[in-house]
């Protein structure tokens, strides 16, 4: 290495630093600031104390320490923050990334090995960052005869649809990116896009193995969508609403999994099939059809597809929690915010600071989020488990399962739900409220 890198010269180092600072300032002032102003036309800015909050105003107010926390709090309650950070893309991507790492370690322990170990000081915790950097730096190879527009767009569509799906899941009371009244139907509509995207990407690659993989993915996803929808009909019948937030609110005293275990099992199996996880990973069956419909994707396109897959995993696990496990309901275990900090302020040594507007998030919301995360992580772990235990299923057995057995079980579940409703046990005016 010492023969390739030149010797260190302080003047050259300072010159390169000033170079970087120059370019950053230039781009920021010529490009960045106007961009921010243009975007701000489309974001609703909060009005605080009768004044519109512009960035300059925000900066001056932040200089006054008493105003810091209220400004941040008002920013947190905007739509923008919800989409980007908290129940939206940032939160989902963080959970997805943690899932990838946990999956590798978990599987490794089942298989008597260690998993990622070297990247990062503690048990390889920075492995994902290393993988992400690697994928970004790889060359993206497009096959010569591929259908280029569709091929480029397919991974972006995939991530977009997965993120749209994740945006429908409520995390805590009132904290959801979009809350349509027909939330569950919106979920079904979004899920219905995935087979189309898979077939588009496999067809545009114009090669034999992705073609076979795409056809298998199509068979698999379509034959498992019907049991997925049917198994959730029971819940809709009993709650009378399609809105996901209301479904969670109806589970305050009991969880739906107690009354509809068959529906939960059918839904869980169809989740495994929609996510293409083992034992249903036919579309990417490595030993038979190289890598299925993912064969021709390389570099960051593959990274995007992996991100989309794990976002989908988080979204499905979140959906399972919301529908069957009671969402964010749970006993209050988050400690309440100490009230004397609001009245008396924080005392450190001789200095007492009064910080206005302090509880950033209230206790209900934090408790709800904690329970939601615990339950979702539990569901994710159970989804990860079959990968270490089962081999891959064959296509005709898969279709047999999807079309005969699961639909039969879903209908039994619907009859149980109808029975419970008409016997007056559940639902409006029932014995158990």
């Amino acid at each position: 290495m010492s023969t390739i890198a030149p010797e260190f010269r302080l003047s050259r180092f300072i010159a390169s630093l000033t170079d970087i600072i120059f370019w950053v300032l230039l781009i920021f002032s010529i490009v960045g600031l106007p961009l921010v102003f243009i975007i701000l036309f489309y974001i609703k800015l909060p009005v605080i104390n009768g004044q519109l909050l512009t960035p300059y105003l925000a900066l001056t107010w932040m200089a006054n320490p008493a105003n810091t926390v209220p400004i941040i709090k008002s920013l947190i309650h905007t739509e923008f923050f919800r989409i980007i950070a908290f129940p939206g893309f940032g939160f989902a991507a963080l959970l997805a990334a943690a899932t990838i790492f946990v999956e590798r370690k978990f599987l490794a322990k089942i298989q008597l090995r260690v998993g990622p170990l070297y990247c990062g000081k503690i048990e390889g915790i920075l492995q994902l960052m290393g993988d992400g950097l690697k994928l970004i730096s790889k060359e993206i190879i497009i096959p010569a005869k591929a259908d280029k527009p569709i091929f480029w767009v397919a991974p972006l569509l995939f991530v977009g649809t997965a993120a749209a799906f994740a945006s429908l899941i409520p995390v805590a009371s009132g904290w959801v990116v979009s809350n349509p009244n027909v939330g569950l139907l919106a979920v079904f509509a979004t899920i219905g896009f995935f087979p189309i995207i898979t077939v588009l990407s496999s067809w545009s690659a114009n090669s034999k193995w992705p073609f076979i993989g795409g056809i298998r993915a199509l068979h698999q996803m379509i034959s498992f969508e019907i049991p997925l929808i049917l198994s959730l009909l029971g819940i809709v019948i009993l709650t009378g609403t399609l809105n996901l937030t209301e479904i969670v609110e109806s589970q305050q005293h009991y969880w739906w999994i107690m009354f509809m275990p068959i529906g939960a099992i059918v839904f869980f199996t169809t989740i495994l099939a929609e996510l293409e996880r083992i034992p249903f990973d036919l579309p990417e069956a490595e030993s038979e059809i190289v890598a299925g419909w993912l064969t021709e994707f390389s570099g960051m396109m593959y990274g995007l597809i992996q991100l989309g897959t794990y976002l989908k995993l988080y979204a499905f696990a979140g959906l399972f929690t919301v529908l069957f496990l009671g969402g964010w309901n749970g006993p209050m275990i988050w400690p309440p915010f100490p009230a004397d900090i609001i009245t008396n302020g924080i005392t450190i040594g001789p200095v007492t600071a009064h910080i206005a507007g302090l509880p950033l998030f209230d206790q209900d919301m934090l408790n709800g989020t904690l329970w939601f995360v615990i339950k979702t992580v539990g569901v994710i772990l159970v989804i990860l488990l079959p990968r270490g235990v089962f081999p891959r299923i064959r296509i005709d057995l898969l279709l047999h399962t999807g079309w005969y057995k699961l639909i039969g079980l879903a209908f039994i579940n619907i009859f149980i739900a109808l029975g419970l409703l008409y016997a007056g046990v559940l639902g409006h005016g029932g014995l158990i409220q």
């Binding site: 089942i110 069956a285 038979e288």
Partner: protein, 377 residues
């Protein structure tokens, strides 16, 4: 076309319905050989195996080297089962040169052969698991192999391609404390492989995929001349260690494992049951081995066989392996013909895959215990 085609060249008609797939050498599910499969939808219409990608001409090379120089290259067809492929060569050359092998060497040879059989079977099981998509079944046998590879490394100095057997015995004696170490590892190994039962052989998805597929009846197995675990899974009780015992197998007690169904599940189970028998043999041999003695009969420099020939065979991990060695008063053999178990089982591949579903192709093909490198020699 009215011109006469050269012998063996065929014309092929192009059919709209039938797709030709190349399960080729660069395919994660094929090993080092090519299968030209014609599919009609999901059903395989015909299958044409195309081995020969790893053909190195072992038999031709053997004619240019003398009896001792032949040992390192003749073990290359199966590098991790190298003791079993050198075994019949050493027996045949000992016949030709008229050498008596000392008793302790015979026991060491039996122990090394059984250890190698377990190593090969675990490798084959690992790849069987990964062909079916079962990654845990790939990791566990690959890790458990290390127990025995360590033992063989202590014996011979190499993890694979041991070059341990020579005509006249074995190359060197066992290291000190080998017997206790071997016994301890074999006991631990038996506990480990009992766990495969629950995760693999009783796994409902595996049973659905392999039971009833690729059925080879008893008459067909005999007529096709199959050998090894394929034969024993179809109900024929034939094991060379019992029928034609070589070295000290007649003093050791073990059983032959036979199953009657002849489907892929039975073929995948027989080598696993035979691993238990191998552990029995190793423990028995360790008990009965003479504690000291020479392990090698010294050969004269540049030994020559007479105008003679010898055919000896041995039960290896894949089936019976035979060596036909012809000598003619020269230090090099005149002709060495190797008859390997994998090549004899090759005929089952087109026979069984015809009419099968494409999804069953990995489970049937790999259950035939076919090692492509060995079949090509």
């Amino acid at each position: 076309m009215t011109t006469q085609l050269p012998p063996g060249i065929q014309l092929e008609t192009i059919d709209d319905r039938i797709m030709t797939l190349n399960v080729g050498p660069q395919h994660p599910g094929s090993g080092h050989m090519r299968l030209i499969i014609k599919v009609d939808g999901d059903y395989i219409v015909s299958c044409d195996p195309d081995p020969g990608y790893v053909h190195r001409g072992e038999e031709k090379m053997a004619e240019y080297r003398n009896y001792i120089q032949n040992i390192p290259h003749l073990e290359r067809p199966v590098i991790h089962d190298s003791c079993n492929i050198l075994y019949p060569y050493c027996l045949a050359v000992e016949d030709l040169l008229g050498i008596e092998v000392p008793e302790r060497a015979k026991y060491i040879r039996v122990i090394a052969s059984e250890l190698n059989r377990c190593i090969y079977t675990l490798y084959w099981l690992a790849i069987y698991g990964i062909f079916l998509g079962h990654s845990t079944m790939f990791m566990w046998p690959a890790g458990d192999r290390e127990l025995f590879i360590d033992l063989l490394e202590a014996m011979s100095g190499a993890r694979v391609t041991h070059a341990y057997f020579v005509p006249g015995g074995v190359r060197n004696d066992l290291p000190a404390n080998f017997e206790e170490r071997c016994l301890r590892q074999v006991n631990y190994f038996e506990k480990r492989i009992k766990e495969y039962e629950a995760i693999f052989y009783q796994n409902p998805v595996l049973k659905q995929r392999t039971e009833g597929t690729g059925i080879l009846s008893r008459m067909d197995a005999i007529r096709l001349g199959t050998t090894g675990s394929v034969l024993r899974a179809s109900g024929v009780d034939f094991d060379l260690r019992k029928k034609e015992p070589y070295d000290v197998y007649e003093n050791l007690d073990f059983e032959t494992q036979v199953m009657k169904e002849g489907d892929s599940y039975a073929r995948s189970r027989i080598p696993y049951l035979e691993m238990f028998e191998s552990c029995r043999i190793i423990k028995d041999a360790l008990r009965k081995m003479p504690k000291s003695g020479s392990v090698r009969t010294k050969l004269k420099p540049n030994p020559k066989g007479g105008n003679d020939e010898s055919y000896r065979r041995v039960e290896s991990g894949r089936g019976s392996l035979g060596f036909h060695v012809i000598s003619n008063n020269r230090p090099e053999p005149y002709r060495v013909k190797i008859s390997v178990g994998s090549f004899r089982n090759l005929i089952c591949i087109p026979y069984l895959l015809k009419g099968e579903k494409l999804g069953n192709m990995p489970s049937v093909y790999w259950s035939l215990n076919y090692w492509p490198v060995e079949a090509d020699r």
